[in-house]
């Protein structure tokens, strides 16, 4: 008697609950001096649906690479990345990305940028203007809907990019240091706004930053990456209730904790740089 073989791979025990997962992921880049530079080695990460995860680590640790892999903008050399248990084959609007540069299309108005995202997910032409305005109101940009991106301040551009990303109603939002280029005050305001918006939308969020305070303020879980070649070295689950206050003493303690951990990794990076 023959046993029918299933063609569908059975997800492992962890994969069942993970919204987004990386298993045994490694990635190398060719360096300009020849040979390869290892960006990631053997990374395992499971992210549950609706979780806000911050990736933090010294520069060059591969956190951006990991994000690009989840986005489908790059392919791993080894290991696999999955969304809802399905392998990630390429980029798509189910995983919206916020880049460090807002990456708005400069020939489109702010509203047209959002409408473009809506068009890509198949929203009909009649519905687009209203839907776009709805998202722009959420990020307090309704008055600037008809402005061109270059007419906006850095913070406003990043808000517009957030509206565009959210308008796809993605299951997952991937952010690569979106506030890094902003001044400290604007940055705090945007962190608060992001928290507010996210508490409504509750997308699964992967947020890369090198700012520990930002990570602790936003995240359910902070994942610390090692000095290059990057791998995951520690996790801190932040249970503080939301909405959070950036001045919260309890959060400050976690910040100090993670800072200690992070500085060790940064020291390793600096030591390696001096050796060269």
């Amino acid at each position: 008697m023959s046993i029918p073989r299933t063609l569908v791979a059975l997800p492992d025990a962890r994969g069942v609950t993970a919204k987004l997962s990386a298993h045994g992921v490694s990635k190398r880049f060719r360096s300009s001096r020849g040979g390869g530079v290892s960006a990631l080695t053997d990374v395992d990460l499971d992210i549950t649906s609706g979780e806000f995860v911050c990736l933090i680590g010294p520069s060059g640790c591969g956190k951006t690479t990991l994000l690009n892999l989840f986005a489908g903008l790059e392919k791993p050399d080894m290991g696999e990345l999955r969304l809802d248990g399905r392998p990630i084959a390429g980029p798509g609007p189910d995983r919206a990305v916020l880049f460090q540069d807002p990456a708005l299309f400069p020939w489109m108005s702010v509203r047209a940028n959002v409408e473009f995202a809506l068009e890509m997910i198949g929203v009909s032409k009649d519905e687009r203007p209203d839907r776009a305005m709805q998202w722009l109101r959420k990020v307090h940009l309704a008055h600037f809907a008809d402005a061109q991106p270059h007419e906006l301040s850095g913070g406003m551009r990043q808000r517009a990019a957030l509206a565009r990303a959210l308008s796809c109603q993605p299951e997952v939002l991937l952010a690569d240091e979106p506030f890094a280029a902003l001044d400290a005050q604007t940055r705090e305001i945007l962190q608060r706004e992001l928290q507010e918006v996210w508490s409504e939308t509750r997308n699964t969020f992967v947020f890369v930053t090198h700012n520990v305070r930002e990570a602790v303020f936003l995240a359910d879980r902070v994942v610390l990456m090692s000095a290059p070649p990057g791998s995951l070295v520690a996790e801190h689950v932040i249970t503080a209730p939301r909405p959070r206050d950036i001045e919260d003493v309890l959060l400050s303690k976690v910040v100090v904790d993670i800072h200690g951990h992070l500085s060790k990794e940064v020291e390793k990076v600096v030591a390696a740089e001096i050796d060269r």
Binding site: F99, F105, P106
Partner: protein, 267 residues
């Protein structure tokens, strides 16, 4: 008020330069150092321009008709040249192999002044308008192709990445993101193609006079044969006017395209 002032600030120096030139010219003519058949006074030139502008000057056409004929030839030539150059440029941008092969060929052709094609064109097409048209076409193709390829290649990768993460791919990505992002570079290429085409056309018309052919270059040569110096100046002024008008149009388009994208240093 401020609008009027900006118009004065924009036009003032331009008008002053022309008036200054006319003044020096008139003084040189009055000085008696030059015979009027060598350097006619500007008044004669203006008279000739006004007189011949719309009235034919047997056996030749009027300046207006000549301008029309030249412009039609330019538009037809550029239309073909731009279409071909754009297609070649887009394939160059799409494939490294074509960039290296056809691209280097285009770079070589661009170094060749287009008027140097005229002898060949005369052998291939005879002493006809088609030979002149050919020169205009062949002169604009490399400029447009190279500019198009560069415009597409220089599109910031971040914008295409952003487009892809929003779900745009293939033809949609190309049409909605890559092409619009390349427009400023493309406009610069068109501007260069027009300038090359206009120069090649004038040179071609000057050298090759097909029987019954009309055009500003032909008028120049005809007036040389008639030794009508004021009329030569008048036609040259018309050639300059056409150039300035087209350049100004390109200036407006270029400012609009780049202003919209925040690429102007002084908006």
């Amino acid at each position: 008020m401020s609008r009027l002032r900006s118009i004065v600030r924009q036009l003032g120096p331009r008008i002053a330069a022309v008036v200054g030139l006319l003044l020096i010219w008139q003084l040189a003519a009055w000085s008696g150092l030059f015979s009027p058949s060598v350097l006619p006074p500007p008044s004669d030139v203006v008279g000739s321009f006004l007189h011949n502008f719309s009235q034919p000057q047997p056996p030749r056409e009027s300046i207006l008709v000549g301008t029309q004929a030249s412009l039609i030839r330019l538009v037809v030539g550029l239309a073909v040249g731009v279409a071909a150059g754009t297609s070649i440029g887009l394939t160059m941008a799409a494939s490294g192999l074509i960039q290296r092969s056809v691209g280097s060929l285009m770079a070589g052709l661009q170094a060749l002044p287009s008027i140097s094609w005229l002898p060949l064109a005369m052998l291939w097409f005879g002493l006809t308008e088609r030979a002149v048209l050919f020169v205009v076409i062949i002169g604009s193709i490399p400029a447009v192709a190279i500019a198009t390829a560069a415009a597409v290649r220089l599109v910031p990768p971040l914008l295409t990445r952003a487009g892809r993460t929003l779900g745009a791919r293939g033809w949609t990505l190309y049409r909605r993101i890559v092409l619009p992002a390349g427009v400023p570079g493309y406009v610069a290429g068109l501007q260069q193609a027009w300038a090359l085409g206009w120069r090649a056309l004038m040179a071609g018309e000057l050298i090759l006079m097909a029987t019954g052919g009309k055009g500003l270059g032909h008028l120049l040569e005809a007036n040389r044969q008639l030794q009508n110096t004021p009329a030569i100046f008048a036609v040259m002024i018309m050639i300059m006017f056409v150039g300035m008008a087209v350049e100004a149009t390109f200036g407006v388009v270029d400012r609009r395209v780049r202003g919209r994208r925040g690429l102007l240093a002084n908006p």
